[in-house]
Amino acid sequence: MGILSSSIARKVAMALSAFFLMFFLLIHVSVNLVSVFSEDAFNTASHFMGTNPLIQYAMQPILLFGVIFHFVLGFVLELKNRNARVVKYYKNNGAANSTWMSRNMIFSGLVILAFIVLHFIDFWFPEVNYKYIAHLPEDPSRYYGELVHKFENPIRVGAYVVAFIFLALHLLHGFQSAFQSMGCNNKYTKYVKSFGKWYALLIPALFIFIALFHYFSH
């Protein structure tokens, strides 16, 4: 894997892609939150995100790469780590020394991956089809209606809620873990950890709130 041949380089790469994705989540939830307050403002924001060339042709491919990179490297690391212990313990008390979240990042990650597939089918593929395959004329007022329509289905809303609970579990370990991997463990770590807990709970909670808000208000 060239530059990623060292274990620490792989850790750093995981952390950097995690920082990028955590920043993206912040942007995403901010835009979604607008939909709760104003249909027009949400349409304007979505139209901007959907048509701005910098976002469409630079940020979007980078994001796609970031998501794929984080997942692929995560799976590679998991396989390598499993291979580092061929014979398992008969009795292992992991709960005695570590959190469930930290031991099950691959599991929460797989749930998030399944969610992203669903999310792509729901929003991203239709959007790509609309703009780049069917070449339909741009309607700046279409976004809010599309969002509300998706959240009419209780099964989809339920799936979103479950996925975001797992995102919270993933972030509860991942946020502070990314700082540790980058070598940041000092007198500020206690603040990083407590900010990380707030971030890990607040961002998924807002996503859940937005989904439930549209489900119950329409």
Partner: protein, 248 residues
Amino acid sequence: MNLTLKIWRQKSPEDKGKMVEYKVTDISEHMSFLEMLDVLNEQLVEANEEPVAFDHDCREGICGMCSLYINGEAHGPDRGITTCQLHMRMFNDGDTIYIEPWRAKAFPVIKDLIVDRTALDRIQQAGGFISVNTSGNTQDADAILISKHAADEAMDAATCIGCGACVATCKNSSAMLFVGAKISQYALLPQGQIEASDRVLNMVRQMDLEGFGNCTNTGACEIECPKGISLVNIARMNREFLKASLKG
């Protein structure tokens, strides 16, 4: 107290090995865990059976020889101790105790509960030292001023006894707490600066070659370490590695 022991028995590195059940009776709560195993072994010898092989040396928590994964935890259920410092008062009459060797691909079983931990020695040999001219005119180490804070942190890192509990307890069999401690004890001191880049790059390379896993920051190693080596040392190793890699 009377106990049921489920112990990993493996005749040789090639043997498949299995868990075998034993009973021990009249065990005093004041005994150490290894003394309890001594009682079992006397029992086995009297019955003309092969005694259980396990590592031990100083029996006072300093040599790093004893190991054992007891009831799912490295060095057993107590904190800040090695297996030889674990007392039977931590258990109750009638308990079943699982005793297994450290499990990691880099720590192959030699016999029963004894594993080969020379992978840690090879990591140390790859860079865990400073080169000093010992021709007779070596500068007195005390002549170099070191801050109290740096000296304390270096000493804390140097308390690692290389027992391998961090590897055994890590779900990924990562040796990064050990390597982090060994790098830190030099990185914090002026004498360690000259070879700092080579040290971290060579030790990490050797660690990867030995087949240890990648750290995922669960923190289990720090909890189970008998010497309380902190995760701060892994973060310092990561910084040292980044610094050395970027320097080229």
